[in-house]
Symmetry: C2
Subunit: 203 residues, 2 copies
DNA sequence: TGAATTATGTATCGATCAACACAGAAAAGG
DNA sequence: CCTTTTCTGTGTTGATCGATACATAATTCA
């Protein structure tokens, strides 16, 4: 491997984590190079040498976010024994994660770049792709429960997945408005109140 | 009134509407003075003379948005004969408004400035206040139904209002992702599926 | 040791940001 | 008419944006 030349004097992963927090708090456009380099403790040439560009840094940061911060939420969805517990756990984990006070509130994937800036469509596209993946994960989990006979055959997994994904997105905005964990759990309660109707629906 | 001096050569209200559309599509930070003056058909000195600053222009634009674009949604909420129809109409009008293809998707109030930029806390604060007002309007409508005996006395208007407001916020992000009217209505169906449980809940 | 390679710090690039100075133009009051 | 008032277009302000040039420092390879 390329171990020649002067070694890097900072921890690349730690710096990436700091960048992730800045993007998380301020969004892609709102995070300036000055914000980033200050938080990362490096100068801009080091940032560009290590990550390439602000765009590439953001893409790496969102990848780290997905792996680290989103892990609990999505493993809960997959591993819960029933579809109902999967959705309830998914939403409960979301409420917990979004209301942590030692980090930015809400979700980087949901809030990072909502306005498609003309020049930087790539960032917007990448976040959309990630949101679409999350929607598909919900749909797959629900349709698995249909296939296993846990849910009725006419259960509309697409509609339900859209509904629960939308609730989660709304919780990001709610969290940004300073909602407490209890307030987020009120939304979870509302969403789960739909379960009985959705799971028992007949065509 | 001050009718002395050279008269304004552009329609102030029409220009404000153009500015609203730019802010709606790009957000507060994403909308540059160049974007605004181009869309409004004026030069920056005229903008500053007529509106004061970018901040003041945004505040006027959100006010116009609330009065014009939000009107249908909130009058439906107030005037529907039952609480259930009020919520259903509120969400249905939202789905219709957010998926119009001849204007930006989603809601200016929800998406206009989610990242609290250090210098411009005023914009963020104003949008938050408007979102809080919307939440209170929902809560008031539901509690009115409780007072009128339409809903059970132990109906939790606060929780339900939080839930439906959050669903609406999520629909803004969903709409920004290109969701069709039908997809938004799937979310409405999910949210209304919660109604039976919420309205019939016993402590 | 010396050549090659890579990272760092300083200093800066052109572009764009929000905002405004200034002079000329268009109206009303006298 | 002339003065006052207000608006418009040109041009520009200092600040900040993302991104680099360049010289130097620190390491490996020969």
């Amino acid at each position: 491997m390329p171990e020649r030349g002067r070694p890097r004097s900072f921890d690349r992963t730690a710096a990436l984590r700091r960048a992730m927090e800045v993007f998380w708090a301020k969004g892609y456009e709102g995070a300036s190079l000055s914000d980033l380099t200050t938080a990362m403790g490096i100068n801009s040439p080091s940032l560009y040498a290590a990550f390439g560009s602000k765009e590439a840094l953001f893409l790496e940061a969102t990848d780290l976010y997905t792996r680290v911060e989103g892990s609990d939420i999505w493993t809960t969805l997959e591993e819960a024994p029933t579809a109902r517990l999967a959705i309830e756990g998914f939403l409960t984990q979301t409420a917990k994660a979004y209301s942590q006070t030692d980090r930015p509130q809400g979700c980087l994937i949901a809030l990072g770049a909502l306005h498609q800036d003309s020049s930087q469509g790539l960032i917007c596209y990448d976040l959309r792709r990630r949101r679409a993946e999350n929607h598909m994960a919900l749909k797959r989990r629900l349709e698995r429960a249909v296939a296993e006979g846990e849910l009725p055959a006419d259960f509309d997994g697409q509609t339900a997945a859209t509904f629960f994904a939308t609730v989660q997105h709304g919780m990001s905005i709610q969290a940004r408005d300073g909602a407490t964990h209890a307030a987020l759990m009120a939304t979870v309660a509302g969403a789960m109140a739909a379960w009985a109707t959705l799971a028992g629906a007949r065509a």
